[in-house]
Amino acid sequence: MGTLIIVWAAMDWYPLEGHWFPERVVENGSIDHLFYCILWLTGIVFIATGILLFWFLWKYDAAKNDQPVVFSHGSHYMEVMWSVVPAIILLFLAIYQMDAWAGARMRRPTLANGQPMPPIARVTGRQFEWRIQYPGADKKFDTPDDLYVTNLLHIPRDEEIVLEIESDDVLHSFFLPNFRVKQDVVPGMKQFIWFKPIKDGAYDIVCAELCGWGHYKMKGQITVQSRNDFDAWLQKTYDEQELSEFSLAEAE
């Protein structure tokens, strides 16, 4: 029955439509692919053991089984079979996924000259908001032309994006469900994540690690747009920031 529910959900049939992976908006689909591989394998094992169990229960019910019990202490051959076959399958799975893991965590995108690609923005988790810092025209962080935004991250489409993530206070976790990205944000550590968005739109930034009572409202938004729109947004937001600083000075 459980399997049926899973199939139902995966097929996107009423009333469970949408009760499956959120829409994927990045180029790399290896996580989804791997999930389905394992789902097929485990699904087959699950159904097979389920059928065996129920068949045995029906067939060897004491109320109707008048045969004497099979007096056996086991079978060496069977033990070897059901150790070796799963071992091969698991080893295959283990090796098969290494590339996807390396792609997600170890192979940071590089520039044409082989240097690691610099982050497009720095995201800092803080109780209970995401602080986002763009390096500005000089491409360096912590200089006077930096742009500061809260909870609103914009990125260009069809480009490899690298983000630097940090935490100011406690553990957070930077989770982009539509991008299949999740990374704990650890205070005292500087970390990089990367992905390549391929679809415009605005999506949720979720905090996936308990960070205190307001954990549930630590919500950000990531917007994917064309390079031109992105540059325009960057310029406009920067101008607003400068303006607000002037007006602040005048008010004093």
Partner: protein, 604 residues
């Protein structure tokens, strides 16, 4: 034969003249008899099981109907908020639900209740090796009960950093409302639970190694005892690490050390004292214990289920030795896979690969066990009694929990499903669908031995059927939430667009969860009614082979009214050498057709 109870008491009463208050206290309160201690553990843990279940209903209520008044219970519990659950209270709810269920229910019910009760009986000993230490292992739980229970009532309404107590959230009082006194009490409570388990595990190891009846070799031990033995080993090796880590966190909180607090931290806009520590260190130390603890919570259950399956399939266990090796394999591998809780923690990704391969391999002994259970019921004569139904449910639910574990072991998939309801589904299948089912099965199975009376079968089956249906309704649905990426521990997930459409399915789960708790009512009534008014059980109501079934029900002081001598393994059901379909371990060979309750007795 059954006069041993009276004899035992009579002999006891000699010293004080009559059965007075002092006698009552030494017999039933500060008892050093392993059976009484086991039953004390059983009652305490079942009570906490109820508390933990009700905390879960609070969590489920919030997820189904966030920020709405809880009917009936709401005004009583949270009158300050007008019957609603506040986000602060919600974080406390899931923290304490997990804490209570892990540290006050599952670990003590398996090791404390069943371990204490069954180990001496099943190996043919008259008591534990260190009875006074055994008594202490129960009574040191009371400070833990008071500390955990009391933390509900101090500022912050209970610890609220999750049961994993990750620093810096848990180490810095300013970081969350429950990170103050409540968190300190939580850590001290954890230490008490640790001391209790430690005292217990030393006792179990010594008893099993030193006090087996003549003929009871290690390879004739029932798997229940093997499960307890390996669990005690795990406790002995892993627990000191957690206790030390807890102490370090306590020092961070009270003495100004910085083991887990990094430099240049500012919480709530106030800069913290320079730390220089590493939050990831806690995670390594914590999971170095808490991953093996997962096996502490399942291995004895696996053993109990193996015993029950054999008894009601009337067949020998399929592959005894491979089962023992598989248990040892699970325990051994259990020590080197803690890192799979930390795939997205920021740990070196190269380590992730090592932990992934080791974790994948742990599925192997688990698969061996499952296939062996199927082999055990194959070709048997299956009797569908309540303990058997719960054990069969254990097998099928453990398959679900085991297979979903493979998704988590796969590091890239774990990136997506980590900290989502997929994980919650997985461990509830293992711990509720698995361990709790085995515990229920064990209670129905050994109840006649504990209280001398049998439980009602009809109500037992009703309890089983309702629990099984609503457990799947509640926990299977969690897989689907997990696939959407629905995170754990959010007081209001519908704050996010991505999860807004999931509210109806959460409401379905909440209704199932409430019904699941309600399904325990027949069990509670059946339990207490049968304790006093159930039909009397003889020594061996199930016609089982184990040593415990040769002792009187309930056994008196010193357990056996004869010296048990063991001639064979515990699973010789349907043996052609015996005229009956079972062959008790104490029955000497070549004596076909002996009466079942009186094997040749050697007077003690």
């Amino acid at each position: 034969m059954s006069s041993i109870t009276a004899d035992g008491h009579a002999a006891h009463a000699h010293s004080s003249g009559e059965f007075g208050v002092g006698e009552f206290i030494t017999t039933y309160v500060f008892s050093r008899d392993h059976k009484v201690i086991g039953i004390q553990f059983l009652f305490s843990t079942l009570l906490w099981f109820l508390v933990g279940g009700l905390l879960a209903i609070g969590i489920r209520w919030q997820l189904a109907w966030p920020w709405s008044d809880m009917p009936v219970i709401g005004p009583m519990l949270f009158s300050a908020e007008g019957g609603q659950i506040s986000p602060e209270f919600y974080t406390m709810l899931f923290t304490m639900h997990a804490t209570v269920m892990t540290f006050l229910v599952i670990i003590p019910i398996l090791a404390g209740a069943f371990g204490n009760y069954l180990i001496p009986l099943m190996i043919g000993a008259d008591d534990m090796a260190f009875p006074t230490m055994n008594m202490l292992s129960y009574w040191v739980m009371w400070p833990a009960f008071f500390l955990f229970g009391g933390s509900f009532f101090v500022a912050g309404n209970g610890a609220s950093s999750g049961w994993t107590s990750y620093p810096p959230l848990a180490s810095i009082p300013e970081s969350a409302p429950g990170s103050g006194l409540a968190q300190t009490m939580w850590l001290l409570g954890l230490t008490c639970v640790g001391i209790s388990s430690m005292l217990g595990s030393v006792n179990y190891l010594t008893t099993i190694i030193q006090m087996r009846a003549p003929g009871m070799t290690m390879m004739r031990l029932p798997l229940t005892i093997w499960g307890m033995f390996i669990t005690a080993l795990l406790q002995a090796f892993a627990l000191p690490v957690l206790t030390a880590a807890g102490l370090m966190q306590l020092l961070d909180r009270t003495a100004g050390t910085g083991f887990f607090i990094p430099e240049a931290l500012s919480v709530n806009n106030s800069p913290m004292a320079p730390g220089g520590g590493q939050p990831l260190l806690w995670q390594h130390l914590f999971w170095f214990y808490s991953h093996p603890a997962v096996y502490i919570m399942i291995l004895p259950a696996m053993g109990m289920v193996s015993d029950i399956l054999c008894c009601f399939a009337r067949k020998p266990l399929f592959g005894y030795k491979p089962m023992v090796y598989a248990m040892n394999g699970i325990a051994g591998l259990g020590f080197i896979v803690w890192g799979h809780h930390m795939f997205v923690s920021g740990m070196n990704p190269g380590l992730g690969m090592t932990f992934m391969v080791a974790t994948m391999m742990i599925a192997l002994p688990s698969a061996v066990k499952t296939f062996n259970w199927l082999g055990t019921i194959y070709g048997g004569k299956i009797q569908f009694t309540s303990p058997m139904l719960f054990s069969l449910a254990f097998v099928s639910m453990f398959v679900v929990g085991g297979l979903s574990g493979i998704f988590m072991a796969a590091t890239p998939v774990d990136i997506f499903i980590h900290d989502t309801y997929y994980i919650v589904a997985h461990f509830h299948y293992v711990l509720f669908g698995g361990t709790a089912m085995a515990v229920f099965g064990g209670i129905y199975f050994w109840f006649p031995k504990m209280f001398g009376r049998t439980m009602n079968e009809f109500w037992g089956k009703t309890h089983f059927l309702l629990t099984f249906i609503f457990l799947n309704g509640t926990f299977f649905t969690m897989h689907i939430l997990g696939a959407v990426g629905f995170p754990r521990r959010l007081a209001d997930p519908y704050h996010y667009e991505t999860f807004r459409h999931l509210q109806p399915i959460n409401q379905f789960m909440t209704i199932c969860a409430i019904l699941m708790v309600a399904s325990q009512i027949p069990f509670i009534l059946n339990f207490f009614y049968s304790m006093f008014f159930g039909p009397k059980a003889g020594r061996n109501p199930w016609h089982a082979n184990g040593l415990e079934w040769q002792a009187p029900s309930p056994p008196g002081h010193g357990n056996f009214d004869f010296q048990p001598i063991v001639y064979r393994g515990p699973y010789e059901y349907g043996s052609p050498e015996s005229d009956k379909d079972y062959y008790p371990q104490t029955q000497p060979p070549n004596e076909r057709g002996q009466a079942d309750v009186s094997p040749t007795l050697t007077d003690k």
